[in-house]
């Protein structure tokens, strides 16, 4: 059973998936996801929820992440291997 915070994070997970379904080539950092992707889906969650949602999506293999040399991370839809 998910608590309120867990439900909010799951909503964030779904919103990111929905954004990537519409924009499969998009990629951005956690900030960009919070500032542009999620408001486009009608959500404005705390940055901690965005962080957790991206982590969940990465664990599920839905997204891939690129570590940036300045310490940041870029997220994008996982590319299917052929």
């Amino acid at each position: 059973m998910l608590d309120e915070s867990g439900l909010a994070i799951e909503r964030t997970v779904s919103a990111i998936e929905a954004y990537l379904a519409r924009h499969p080539a998009a990629a951005d950092s956690e900030q960009g996801v919070a500032q542009w992707w999620l408001p486009a889906q009608g959500l404005d969650p705390p940055i901690e929820h965005v962080h957790r949602a991206l982590e969940i999506l990465w664990q599920r293999g839905v997204i891939e992440r690129t570590a940036m040399p300045d310490g940041g991370t870029v997220y994008r839809a996982a590319r299917r291997r052929t």
Binding site: H23, A25, A26, A27, D28, S29, Q31, G32, Q35, W36, P39, D44, P45, P46, T66, M68, P69, D70, G71, G72, V74, R76
Partner: protein, 336 residues
């Protein structure tokens, strides 16, 4: 006031709305952009707005802070490398230019880019082609480059520490993000926006600014700009109770001196403070005014300022950080 399709850009001052108008215009044309502004003025926010309003909005936005990169790795990180290009290159890897293909590559703190990397970037901007380190093959990448720099860039150009041909190449479209102190009452709008946002995120009741904070916010010079205001609001919201929010108290606790013409917060000016409180208040106020004067005299050069003040550079750096003073905001604009 939120600005149309740009929900993250809050303000109604003329100088800010002019910048927003330029962002919307620049989004329509696929040319390089150079964004200038002090720390905390929203340069990355502006770069993202240009990207997400542009025809590249479906493609990647890749941001890199040039100031946080090891100098020896910059070319490999930008353009990738072939297997065996150097000792640690056990396999070929793509660079950030390839990762941003089709979209926008944002280079923050451009003024920190080492000279060698400036040459590589200039070559890439000229024809959008590059060679990964150790490779003979030329690759092509379709990215729009947006760069951001502090006011220090002008000084570096005059001193020859930054390539002017690269600056010219990037400065096709120039956007200046105004400092908060020049944005009239935008600090109040932003404060109310941050209160509402953080109250919702942290699950606390939203509050209004009290009269003292409103006056404080419009008089304070905000050296850390919007970022400083955001932090102050969060701190005040989470660490205090009451119907109204008095962030001037929290600013004083963080060692920020009251703006000119405003008495220290917390008690009426005629009420006597304890000796230690009055001393701490006076010390903090003295430190801040001294540092501002010192950094102005040294034109933002911390090493020169440390010499003038007879202090160790590191100790001076700590003091500047304590008072939220950014050396870059004291740099003098270059005169042609």
């Amino acid at each position: 006031m939120q600005t149309g399709a740009l929900p993250n850009l809050i303000g109604q001052s003329e100088v800010f709305l002019r910048a927003v108008g330029l962002i919307e215009r620049m989004a329509r044309f696929d040319a390089p952009v150079l964004i200038q502004g002090e720390t905390g003025t929203g340069k990355e926010l502006a770069a993202r707005a240009i990207h997400y309003l542009s025809s590249r909005q479906q493609a990647p936005f890749v941001a890199l802070n040039c100031g946080a990169m090891p100098e020896g790795l910059i070319e490999t990180e930008l353009f990738g490398c072939e297997r065996g290009a150097f000792t640690d290159a056990r396999q070929a890897r793509t660079g950030l230019v390839a990762a941003a293909d089709g979209g926008t590559f944002f280079l923050d703190e451009l003024d920190s880019l080492p000279l060698r990397a400036q040459v590589s970037l200039l070559r890439f901007l000229q024809d959008k082609t590059y060679r990964p380190v150790g490779s003979m093959r030329v690759h092509c990448s379709d990215v729009r480059v947006i760069a951001a720099a502090s006011p220090r860039l002008q000084e570096m150009l005059v001193a020859g520490a930054f390539r002017d041909d690269l600056a010219f190449r990037l400065n096709v479209l120039m956007l200046e993000m105004p400092p908060l102190r020049e944005r009239g009452t935008d600090a109040l709008l932003l404060a109310e926006y941050f209160i509402e946002r953080h109250a919702s995120h942290y699950g606390v009741a939203p509050r209004h600014l009290d009269a003292r904070s409103r006056e404080w916010a419009t008089r304070y010079p905000w050296p850390g700009n919007v970022r400083e205001l955001d932090n102050l609001i969060q701190r005040a919201l989470l660490l205090s109770d009451g119907k109204c929010l008095d962030f001037s108290l929290h600013a004083a606790e963080a060692g920020v001196a009251s703006p000119p013409g405003m008495p220290p917060p917390g008690r009426p000016p005629s009420q006597l403070q304890s000796y230690s409180d009055a001393r701490a208040q006076a010390m903090s106020s003295f430190e801040r005014h001294y540092l501002e004067h010192l950094m102005t005299a040294a034109a933002g050069n911390v090493t020169r300022a440390a010499r003038l003040a007879g202090k160790e550079r590191r100790a001076l750096g700590k003091l500047l950080k304590k008072h939220g003073l950014d050396h870059a905001s004291f740099h003098e604009p270059a005169h042609a």
